[in-house]
Amino acid sequence: MSSLFGALSIATGALAAEQGAMDATTNNVANANTPGYSRLVPVLVESDPIVLGSVTYGEGVTLQKLQSVRDPILQLSIDQATQEQGQLNTYVSAMKQAQVQFTSSGSDIATEISNFFSSVNQLSADPTSIPLRQGVLAAAGNLATIFNNTSASLTQQQTTADQSVTQTVQQVNQLTGQIATLNTQISQLQGVGQDASAFEDQRDVAIGQLSSLIGVSSIKSDNSLTLTTANGAPLVVDGQSFALTTQTNAAGFQDVYAQGVDITSKLTSGQLAGLIQVRDQTLPGLVSNLDTLASGLANALNTANAKGFDLYGNPGGNIFTAPSASGQGYAATMAVAITDPELIAASSDGSQGSNGNVAVLAAVQNADVAGGQTPTDYYSSVVANVGNDVSNGSAELTSTQLALTQLQDQLGSVSGVSLDEEASNMVQYQRAYDAAAEVVTTVNDMLYTTINMGTLTG
């Protein structure tokens, strides 16, 4: 507009726009270290011009909005990587803990098996010796104890994982509640055309936290967001959240339910999936391996003992308490069945001095007693499996973490606040503000000149 007042109005608009842009910088600098914060950029647009005759007059600048810079696809990839990481992290740390039970020490299962058979071998040189017989019983006791302890600590770990399942479900519910509330706030603001970026940032953070706990899929439309579990059970639909519940299952552990449907086995990522994998698969698998070994050994030794005669001349009885047919739970309950050392059946012919059955007992060491393998071979393959689980899991975890770091790097480069950039923007806005103010001063001077035109000529 070609009037001075028009110029004044353009300059004032510019002052307001630069001030608004400065607001974006101020907010960015203030939130430079806020987790999940996406930097704001002012969207400045040229005002529609006015055409008077053949001349087109610019109408200055308008601050359309302050927009936060985000990359939804990248955010989605981060959430997915976070889910994977959550699952692996939980799994690896639990397996590392379990691995301790299978680490060679002076009193691990392998050592106690060897010790037991050594004590049996010693008996062959002097089958009537009570101290040697007591040695066999003591070694049998140690063997039973190490099976009991190893099994118990694995079971204890299972219980701990189960407690964590309940806690994690509570955390999930808390977060889905938060996200639903944020959804409502966002859609309300967006409904009236206002900027909801602060709430969107908070929601991104909450979804990130949720992703580390449970695998979710998110469906975003204009103003709404739907979160479901990997198998489609809704967690959040717009402003409503659906809480997960837990129910005690036959094993005494908590199963996870979404709206009445058991989704325990459907969970594939996130901490919850890791916990369930450890609780329902890995640890029970190890306990069952121990059961197989312990019951196989006990059965074989009991059978071997029954082939001979004890010091009283009677046929040998059980050395260890008899395992059930399936052997399930035996490692936890294995115990020596006899306290009288004379009941060890060393004799093959009923004479006290005979050692013929010692060889039968000792032969169990090299017999296929568990899974078609000798006790030592079976145990060593269990150890190798545990080691493989930990080392493969750790490798996967490392690569997932690397991927996550790279994605976060990328997101940082898109949405992160660079103080250098903000400083340079600040200078830019300040200079533009200064200039617009200068325009106001100049126009003011010009108006003054115009107003006083008569006075000057008069």
Binding site: F102, S104, A110, F117, A362, G416
Partner: protein
């Protein structure tokens, strides 16, 4: 203005890298400290399984060694006992030869008979030798094997049995550790019954009749016991050679164990060096991360 933005927050990356380096350094240090490259199964799952098997084999070899130690005493006791039996029978033999000369008086013959009776009880006592509370010529029985028994022609009855004991001294390798006393002393045998021979000799000398025949019997018994003794000599030889084998096996197992687990100190030392350098570099990178921004220059 369009430029490639970089992540303005490099710190988390650097810290993660530092954490990883610290973890690696901790592992290297642990290997150096323990001298073992396998400190937990995940360090080398197959190696950890191998270690368990080698340890079990090694412990089995040790237990065979200790079994050998246990039976060696028993076998040598039997061997030296039989050696004494042989020399005792030799004494009896020379007494018999003396009596058979036909030049001795009745009183002298009575003396010899008395000496021979002494030898008889000495032989009985030798046949009842025990090792660590266990009679070594009783078969697998624990009761005293040889007792005076007037119902027997030889005057001595056998209460042991004819069973024997074997002891495992190697994988699938058993050695028989005893012979039944009845066999060792030729009880009831057509030839070589030690107690029958000595009893016959005593009777002959006492009656001064048929002495040469009785002397021949003693000679046969002596040869018989000597032949039985070779069983124990053989047993001692077997255990001795097995001991040598087990020693070399133990050595080889510990070498294998060493190969499987031994930390390579040279590699570890250079690894530690590299890790420490990397760690220092990362720390320096963190330290040098610009602490200032353009804001500092806008004054």
């Amino acid at each position: 203005m369009s430029s490639i933005r970089v992540n303005p927050f490099p710190m988390p990356d650097l810290l993660a890298a530092l954490e990883q380096l610290q973890q690696q350094t901790a592992n290297t240090t642990l290997e150096l400290a323990t001298g073992s490259s396998i400190n937990k199964p995940s360090d080398n799952p197959a190696g950890a399984a191998e270690v368990i098997r080698l340890n079990a084999e090694s412990s089995q070899a040790d237990s065979f060694q200790s079994s050998i130690g246990g039976i060696n005493g028993q076998i040598s006791t039997a061997d030296s006992t039989l050696s004494t039996v042989v020399s005792t029978l030799q004494t009896a033999l020379s007494l018999g030869v003396e009596a058979a000369g036909g030049t001795l008086s009745t009183a002298q013959l009575a003396d010899i008979a008395t000496q021979l009776t002494g030898i008889q009880s000495q032989l009985l006592s030798l046949a009842n030798t025990s090792y660590q509370g266990q009679y070594i010529f009783a078969g697998t029985k624990t009761a005293q094997p040889f007792v005076l028994d007037p119902t027997q022609e030889s005057g001595v009855g056998y209460k042991g049995n004819t069973d024997t004991n074997n002891v495992t001294i190697g994988a699938g390798y058993q050695v028989q550790v005893n012979l039944p006393g009845s066999q060792v002393f030729g009880l009831g045998g057509a030839t070589g019954d030690v107690f029958q021979a000595i009893s016959d000799l005593i009777t002959s000398v006492q009656n001064n009749t048929g002495i040469p025949g009785a002397v021949t019997e003693i000679d046969t018994a002596l040869n018989y016991v000597t032949s039985q003794r070779t069983f124990y000599d053989d047993g001692l030889n077997q255990t001795k050679s097995q001991q040598t084998y087990l020693n070399s096996q133990s050595l080889s197992l510990s070498q294998q164990l060493n190969t499987a687990t031994a930390a390579n100190f040279a590699t570890l030392a250079s690894q530690l060096e590299t890790e420490q350098t990397a760690q220092t570099a990362t720390l320096e990178a963190i330290g040098k991360t610009p602490q200032e921004s353009l804001f500092d220059y806008l004054k």
